[in-house]
């Protein structure tokens, strides 16, 4: 296995439900890989089993040729794979800045003891972390929300905070679970620009998105999931022309848009 984030033959079942039945996916550095599929097709489950939140019953995951199958979530992060959650998981009272700074945990070098004694080194690192977080928030247009408590934000902006928290971590591969749901069109453009910039910096991006325009704009390659199988894979235009896909996914698109509308 060569470069990139490679998952081969992933299988996951929850009791009787076989959520993934042998899914292959490759995320190359510098590229945005799209992942689409109707509700319940297993997209989030694929995220969970790549990042160690769910133990796969079969299949292997590797990063740049190094096997990471079955590692615990924090070990996966240490290998340079970051993720967002589809439902933002944030504590209501933290400020946006703090929430984003939390994403930098994996890059902290000073020790717990150093932090405890407030060593100059730890203090300097703390300042650097803050600067990095602020820079990322600036790029995503979150800068003037810095001191707002996350509990006061809408679901769309919460997702954006999640994205910032993931991107800031310095991961080489980032997996974004429906980051654009609930954003206004201007915010979507900002997000798209940032995702493109991130890929241009050499990061590999795996993007789950129901918004076809955004997928078409950003992704060179798209995989379609259907009840735990990869239905087909190719450029966005190829995939969207595929009859199976049209039947499976686009047929349900109307419902999905409705559902997405109902969330806001």
């Amino acid at each position: 296995m060569s470069g990139g984030l490679v998952a081969k033959g992933m299988e996951v079942s929850f009791g009787g439900v076989r959520a993934l039945r042998g899914v292959d996916i490759v995320v190359s550095p510098g590229a945005v890989m799209g992942l689409i599929g109707r509700n319940g097709s297993g997209k989030s489950t694929l995220f969970n089993c790549i990042t160690g939140f769910v133990r796969p019953s079969g299949g292997r995951v590797s990063v740049d040729g190094k096997d990471i199958t079955g590692m615990r979530p924090h070990q996966v992060v240490a290998k340079g794979v970051g993720r967002t959650f589809q439902t933002p998981r944030l504590e209501a009272r933290t400020s946006v800045l703090t929430a984003v700074t939390c994403g930098l945990y994996a890059s902290v070098r000073s020790s717990l003891v150093g932090a405890l004694f407030g060593s100059p080194w730890a203090m300097r690192e703390e300042r650097l972390l803050r600067e990095r977080a602020e820079a990322e928030m600036e790029r995503l247009g979150l800068a003037n929300l810095r001191h707002v408590e996350v509990g006061k934000l809408s679901l769309g902006l919460l997702r954006l905070v999640e994205v910032a928290r993931c991107l800031v971590s310095g991961a080489r591969f980032v997996m974004l679970d429906e980051p654009a749901a609930g954003l206004t069109s201007v915010e979507k453009d900002k997000l798209a620009a940032e995702v493109r910039a991130v890929a241009a910096r050499g990061l590999g991006v795996l993007l789950v998105e129901h918004n076809i325009d955004m997928v078409r704009q950003l992704c060179r390659s798209v995989a379609v999931l259907e009840t735990g199988n990869v239905l087909c894979q190719g450029t966005p235009d190829e995939v969207l022309r595929n009859d199976d896909v049209i039947r499976s996914y686009l047929g349900a698109l109307g419902d999905i848009e409705d559902a997405a509308g109902g969330w806001q």
Binding site: S44, N48, F53, F85, W263
Partner: protein, 284 residues
Amino acid sequence: MIHFVEYVLRGALAGAIYALLAAPMSLLFATARTIDFAVGAYALIAAAVAATIGGIAGAEAGLAAAMLSAAIMSLIFVGLKRLGCEDGIVFALASFGLSAVIESFVLWYWGARSFIVSYVAASWSLGGIRLDQQGLFNLLIAAIVVVILHVVVRHSSLGRMMRASAVNAVGATLAAIPVEGLQMGVYLAGGLLAGLAGLLVLYSAGIDFTAPLGLTLSGFGAAIVFGVGSPLRCLFGGIAMGVAQALASGYLSEALSAMTPFLFILLVLSMRPADTEALAGGRP
């Protein structure tokens, strides 16, 4: 060998009381995802009241006092819930507060004396092994109570509602199951059973104001040894712990015997698999 059998039998009799404390804990955990740390205190207040009044009337008054205390706890529980608290640990913390109140009240009103009443001092001899009748009576009561609970949980509509609200409280509420009422009922049942346990302790080994914490923990040990699930498991858990305690005191040392419930708890907890479901997270 005869010693061994004797230790096992005595331990089993002593462990029956733990089962009475354990059963309501496992029910409460199943229906409300929390722990009532005050069960030991309910047992204490029941014993104290019963010893003071004496006789059947005393026993009844003791049970009433225990249930009254549990009713207070259930009101605190509902109050916390109404104020938007969903955190099981906060309910547990509140039950600590109540436990402190009861213990301290008993200490203030009755002083540091220990309560003991013996009605049946007789014992049977069985092939050289002495078994006191009170102990056998305790085991009988515990077994009857646990079997009744088991039947209620498994085979009645009340039990079905309880199981439904344990699996999914929101869904059960939508299905018009009075989840909150059930949870209060389980707190009250905990008071009744703990009070009963307190009476049995009063009639056997005796109890003083320092006992509640130990009783509560022994109850926990019994409740979790074989997995929190059914009242029957609590009975076996209680007996297993009583036996382990008796064996430790017979062959090893008193200190180890006293540590047994706590070692049980640590051992069982450290062998439990991690909650992976909690990590995977729910779907929106």
